[in-house]
Symmetry: C2
Subunit: 325 residues, 2 copies
């Protein structure tokens, strides 16, 4: 039996955290041969509810779950952790300006980056889910000077999975046969869901769908899917976000399949002309716990424009939080 | 690749149904080589929210999930299903008498049994989770004359798992080393969590804990755990109930481990002196999709008394719904 790994989940009593914790404990993220210690982190007012989450996790008698730590102290919560699902963040409230949202979250993710820097395993892998995820991850990465910035990532996998699902539905093809999807840039309305390189059961996706469907239906639908779910369900995406977080980490740790790739928000090294140091979503292949940006993809004028637009938004976000970097 | 199986979930937009659907779709119930079609059933006012659940399930791009049907029509929802997670029920509201609760649910589970009888696969396996689960399952079973009553079961696995967890914590032993736990009878305060036959890392459980702890702390804690979770979390057990439902079905379909057993509410054939035809929880071993009551366990006077008390409650419940059987 492998020795246990430590997984921190912030915002663990919230809806996404709650949906994630049980699937992680069931072995969905790292496999059913990997024992787990969960380190659940919440803000002080939510510690009572977090205790209830812990009770329910115990009540599942999960074979893999060796221990559960509940805390509001980041130095305790991130102690020796191997993986971080950073889910908790300050949501946008009515009338809040984007600059306020960024700076309110900066107050969370700066100290969080430092606490991870000071306490986590030196090989820690961090996924930021809490919005604005890219810039929150950027702030955390910049506040962890002893770690490699590549250890901090942001979640684009929900957008990636949504894009696969929409194309699957349109082409009446199983999701398992949709390969090489990309969602570039920011997890926001400016994201660019790109099917230029995508294969549908081996065929070029663009040869199977109208350009007007692609640009006028598919793209906005993927970009605005969060709102569509809220309208229907009366609550924001929770289980699907948790599932994407699990997928992101599993791909990173266990690897991507064959020639396929996934979309991850990572620190740009300048690939495809994207400004260095931004937390930007690229197509990546993963192997042995590492990821590499897929190289050599041809970028047409439309893609170039879309990739720039979402880059520009991230540049503005970075500018707004520059004091925290 | 196996061909897809059809799994109905009632109350699929509720908290337990929501927690169950994603884990089922991820392969947690029947394994990661078993494709799935989900048939999600809700009452008409919840169909909008159910559409949101469907969106999120699609957004996960689960490899195993071939199709999702959403309906308020039981004849559509149960059509050709191989498995039923019957989760939706009428909760007890303030001031409601037990007889009212039973009869209100009878109005749901009588027609549900008939719809399963008329539409489901002849080999369907039904698990009733919605409370009062035992008597709801009894009503459904009695309204499905063309099926074997053994195809209808009620959930005691949450109680069973809670009992394992409490004993694990008390004896500081991993849950994987706690074997042969039993919870007898009704999923209610009268249930009897019985450690008389239980082994803790090979040792008799009763030799490791005080009798006073067993009777005055362990038993009431397991019996009243639902209330403890509500008090802490501000919401009733959802993910742990869903997890227990998945465990119940997985044990039934895939089998119990070695010499171990699980607790399931099943139609009594008179084993251990329990009245025939009650939906009563017994220890069972499962193999090849079947279950058999564990035979030959010695029952001491205390156990006899506790088993009778919970039997008496189920007899009263049956009497209260006799017009529906």
């Amino acid at each position: 039996m492998k020795s246990a790994v430590r997984i921190a989940i912030t915002g663990a009593a919230g809806n996404i955290g709650y949906a994630a914790a049980f699937r992680v404990a069931a072995g969905n993220m790292l496999g059913t041969d990997q024992p787990i210690i969960l380190q659940l982190i919440e803000i002080p007012p939510a510690l009572g509810a977090l205790e209830g989450v812990k009770m329910e996790l115990c009540d599942c008698a999960f074979p893999l779950l060796e221990d559960i730590i509940c805390t509001a102290d980041a130095n305790v919560g991130f102690k020796d952790v191997d993986y971080v699902l950073s889910i908790g963040s300050k949501p946008r409230t009515k009338g809040m300006e984007r600059a306020d949202l960024l700076s309110e979250n900066g107050k969370i993710f700066g100290p969080q980056g430092k606490a991870i820097n000071d306490n986590a395993s030196r090989d820690v892998k961090v996924l930021v889910v809490g919005n604005p995820a890219n810039t929150n991850a950027l702030i955390a990465a910049n506040n962890a000077p002893d770690l490699d910035m590549r250890q901090f990532t942001s979640m684009m996998r929900l957008d990636h999975n949504r894009a696969i699902s929409q194309l699957s539905s349109k082409t009446n093809t199983p999701v398992t046969k949709i390969k090489q999807m990309i969602v570039w840039g920011n997890h926001s309305l400016s994201q660019y869901p790109d099917i230029s390189h995508c294969k549908v059961d081996g065929k070029d996706a663009k040869s199977l769908v109208d350009d007007s469907w692609y640009k006028e239906e598919f793209m906005p639908r993927v970009q605005k899917r969060g709102a569509e779910v809220i309208n229907a369900r009366g609550a924001s995406s929770a289980a699907s976000a948790a599932s994407a977080a699990i997928d992101h980490m599993r791909s990173w740790v266990i690897g991507t399949d064959g020639d396929d790739w996934v979309s991850m928000g990572i620190i740009s090294k300048g690939d495809y002309g994207i400004a260095e140091g931004l937390m930007y979503s690229f197509p990546v292949r993963c192997k042995n716990g590492n990821y590499e940006v897929v190289q050599g993809l041809s970028i047409d004028d439309f893609s170039q424009k879309m990739m720039k637009a979402t880059e520009n938004e991230l540049l503005e976000e970075r500018e707004a939080v520059k004091d925290l970097l």
